[in-house]
Symmetry: C2
Subunit: 363 residues, 2 copies
């Protein structure tokens, strides 16, 4: 971007270790020793060098240091799926951010976001920050594609890393996740026990592990109850409002559907209501609904007789703490945090409004 000699920073503001060495009357190696807090430097020398460093406002070139010494102090955050399908709410972002600050930032590490792959540049490897030796560790947000293999390379690289979902075929993966297969199983079983046989599943993350788990748990519950699996009752949605509404509408128009599981992650009561209304259904009366929620003690929709709480935030926080320990060498990876979902009656819970997704916000 900037690469001619008149580029920013090509001026007097940039010093090298040699400038410091000359001014302090020592060799560059001695300055290096002082900067890195190594032993075998005379106290007088150390003090003199330090004062020169401070006086000049000298800071070592990160790139040169990383090149030579393999030392890095930056933790990366990337996104393993397009941001349009990574549902990060305003509240979740704040909490993650605050946590990153407390765990890494306040210890002097910088926290760097690489949106490249998630930004739609899909042939970019989400772990490229590791391969380009930018980061000393990586947090991978979002669902992993069912066919993902990059995570294996990340795992084998030895860098501390954390994903927010498991990959079915690779359980050793360092992850902080919620058991979504069980969540789907619990959801479905619960409805079966209430006598439903035709249960529609409004799901999400098709093509990703998070979607596979949803389908698998649903299918397992049906199988155990000897109910035939009907592919048409399982529909994956993106987060487009109109799409969800249309899907709900069509699902409820299918012959014989008496119950609906919403695991779409949009947490949007209005579109489901509207879809049901258009289908001539009365939610909570002729149609029972069970929604997934990401907040404890908050209902996505009051008509739902029950909710399944997916404690993804809680899992993530525990995972981040474990990652921070791994990062500083206080423990060894991989992180293995797996939370269980919780089934709750909706009764008495306050209905929350649809969370705002951060990457949809416009200035």
């Amino acid at each position: 971007m900037k690469d001619d000699s008149s580029s920013p920073g090509a001026h007097t503001t940039h010093y090298t270790i040699r400038d410091v060495a000359e001014k302090a009357g020592v060799s560059t190696k001695t300055v290096s020793r002082v900067l890195n807090g190594e032993a075998y430097v005379a106290e007088a020398t150390r003090v003199r060098v330090q004062s020169v460093v401070r006086e000049m406002g000298y800071y070592p070139h990160t790139g040169a240091r990383s090149l030579r010494a393999h030392r890095r102090d930056c933790i990366g955050v990337t996104f393993s799926a397009p941001l349009s399908i990574v549902p990060i709410s305003e509240a979740l972002l704040s909490h993650i951010f605050s946590q990153l600050y407390h765990l890494f930032g306040s210890k002097g590490n910088s926290v760097s976001f690489d949106f490249g792959p998630g930004a739609g540049n899909l042939d970019a490897d989400y772990a490229r920050g590791l391969w380009s030796r930018r980061y000393a560790g990586l947090i991978i947000m979002g669902p992993l594609a069912s066919s993902d293999t990059t995570i294996l390379r990340v795992h084998e690289s030895g860098y501390p890393y954390l994903t927010t979902s498991r990959l079915g075929c690779f359980p050793e993966c360092s992850s902080a996740a919620v058991d979504l297969e069980e969540a789907a199983y619990v959801s479905t079983t619960c409805l079966i026990e209430r006598g439903h046989r035709r249960i529609a599943h409004l799901t999400s993350f098709d093509g990703y592990n998070a979607g596979d788990e949803r389908r698998a748990g649903y299918a397992r519950a049906l199988r155990e109850a000897d109910i035939e699996f009907d592919e048409r009752l399982v529909r994956g949605a993106t987060f487009e409002v109109h799409e969800i509404e249309a899907l709900v509408h069509r699902l409820l128009m299918e012959r014989g559907v008496t119950a609906l599981i919403d695991s779409s992650a949009a947490q949007d009561a209005e579109t489901i209501r509207e879809g049901a209304r258009r289908a001539g259904r009365a939610l909570g009366q002729d149609t029972e609904v069970l929604c997934w929620t990401y907040s404890d003690k908050a209902a996505v929709m009051s008509e739902a007789f029950a909710h399944v709480w997916i404690p993804i935030r809680e899992a993530l926080f525990e995972g981040l703490e474990a990652l921070a320990q791994w990062y500083v060498g206080e423990s060894q990876g991989p992180v293995q945090v797996l939370y269980r979902p919780t089934l709750r009656e909706t009764q008495g819970l306050e209905e929350v409004s649809k969370p705002r997704a951060v990457f949809d916000l416009r200035a």
Copy 2:
């Protein structure tokens, strides 16, 4: 942190440009040409090299590249004051984050946060990410200390940068800010016109330019009205709830205070109410209040007869856009965005609750 030979990434996962060159049967320079999209590469060569690069999952070493070519693709965000006094609400963070994503992240740049200086490591230079050649541009959040000189060095370095406040003695500074001197002037004048002579000012950011401006505008309004300036009526608060309450309490106990300006940036109605209650005052009746607010059309407290809207978010967004243009070379710096405050009657405005400060959040 990791620097021995068994460190992460010291394994088979890391390739150099020579590995690519050998595999493609060309020189490293040719690979370099392909990677950088330079001209004068035979189409066949380009295709072959690209396929080798993709196949190996090779990404160039950021540090080496930055060292040799002065090319960087990372924009830094730092904090010029301790985070405890930088009032970033959950909502503001989301918006900034989203904006950073749209302006920088989605174009392939990474966005890196350096909390070091704001994290309490106060002898660290907040612009160190520039001096250590980590960033190609810098966003400096928070108020600048009245005595700050670092900003001059940043300015002279030629890097694109943006501050969120002006420094009185350095108006050329690239900034996106709101005229707080005028805000204080307008606030005070408004109360003077309603007949008040003893106006207390609950202010903030003592020792920072944002605090200086508040005081200056207040003093100017008094001067023009020939009202004597009483130092005891101006009190700076941090964001400690109990401190604000105590300050309000003491201010109102002062002889003859009939009006209060709250420019404390905490946007906290409750503590002001409690302070007033303890002082035996009835806000809106025997004591008139004017609050600063950072949201258009939202009242900090309903007892206030008026609010002054400080459109810092709006200014910041325009500033970030201008910075992005400067960053890609579509325009030249410095950014000069200065918004004016707006006086509004509180009547009819909905009272909002105190915003949650991001860096106070705990997991």
